[in-house]
Symmetry: C2
Subunit: 213 residues, 2 copies
DNA sequence: GGGGTCATGTAATAGGTTACATGATTCT
DNA sequence: AGAATCATGTAACCTATTACATGACCCC
């Protein structure tokens, strides 16, 4: 697995938790949630148990004891094996050092732009800009708040990264919308032609309600 | 499905192909490849057939004829139904207008930074910057080349988007590396403490081979 | 005329997600 | 005391990916 299994980052998070101390799965989940890691790594209980199993099969972690507190269901506590320690370091190093191809939904959408008429695209992009600005405000304030509580930046770098990426996307969309309006994308007439727009409406002043630029 | 099925963008690409004309699956794939859409939408044959089936079950597309050319295997040609046309517009509009939460591998990596010692992280980030710069050169040249062939920008917006995002990430990583070096991330001693670094090596001039800043 | 590669698709497997289950704790 | 929520996990389902299959074309 050690090579094939590097798909789902939740497995990496599990290794990271266990590097700190042995835990049972549910505790890993709450730990991650407390630290806000679920904002960066998709987490749900179902997958968690699947992933833990698969890490065990791969010999990276090991069930240490099954304790039972009160009459709750048994909880299996897992510990990190040496192979797991190595895999953690290796995998994380790869994530940091090697830019990976990611398929984002927005990129998919952009690649199919010609399927919609330009006026519609313009309106949609304006909607996105507004939504992005909102999201940015929220993320920035969460981040600032954490820092004011004394959290060292080291533990919220992901958050700064998300903000930086959103800002960049916003700038891009802004520019793109401008380029569509001014026609500097080229092929505007062709584009409009695909979608038999009823009148020769050349979008002279027809702007939607957004005025973000 | 119309709501639950909006996970895999390949289905959207299928709808988009069929908006143009009826096709059999293999032809959709080659069409997408020709236009470089597989750079933006993950495509492999196995998934393609699964996705087409599921679109058919959902009543968005329909098998029109099964032709047979020479003694090749039968090919089923699919056509877009009205429900499919609507779904295409709806789905694409959502992708464009609504920023979605995406989990990227790099963000996952960043969120686990404290698992590695700061010196190692620094080296890894420098590797990433070098690799990103290479990737940027390649993508820019592909894009420019296409434009010089007369392709209107409209058909390569995704590519410009990828470039913009990579540039932004590069800038972020650059800044982050600086912040680690100068200690403005806070908690550097703590951080180093987690990983009992053998000597009190304070990374005085110990830089790796990259000199990107 | 035999070995590769293209064109086209199917089947088996693995991975992940949703839905469900059950006892404990807390709130009103 | 009953309702809601937390803590903990299992099982069934669905999706996607990999591996495989098969005839045709092409090149030497």
């Amino acid at each position: 697995m050690t090579k094939s299994k590097r798909s789902n980052a939740l497995a990496l998070a599990v290794l990271a938790c266990l590097q700190e101390r042995a835990m049972h799965p549910y505790e890993m989940a709450t730990t991650m949630r407390q630290r806000g890691k679920h904002e960066s790594i998709k987490l749900n209980y179902g997958s968690l148990y699947t992933v833990v199993q698969s890490l065990e099969r791969a010999g990276l972690i090991e069930a240490q004891e099954t304790e039972r507190e009160g009459r709750r269901p048994e909880r299996t506590v897992y510990g990190l094996l040496d192979a797991g320690r190595i895999e953690l370091i290796d995998w994380l190093s790869e994530l940091l050092s090697t830019p990976a191809k990611e398929f984002t939904q927005f990129e998919a959408g952009l690649s199919l732009l010609p399927c919609l008429p330009p006026e519609d695209v313009l309106a949609l992009l304006h909607d996105r800009m507004a939504a992005t600005e909102l999201a940015l405000v929220a993320e920035r304030s969460v981040c600032d708040h954490a820092y004011q509580q004394g959290l060292p930046r080291l533990f919220a770098v992901e958050s700064e990264y998300r903000i930086a990426m959103r800002e960049a996307e916003l700038a891009f969309v802004h520019q793109l919308a401008d380029d569509i309006r001014t026609g500097s994308l080229g092929g505007l007439e062709e584009w409009r032609g695909y979608h038999s727009a009823p009148p020769p409406l050349q979008l002279p002043e027809a702007r939607s309600e957004e005025a973000t630029e």
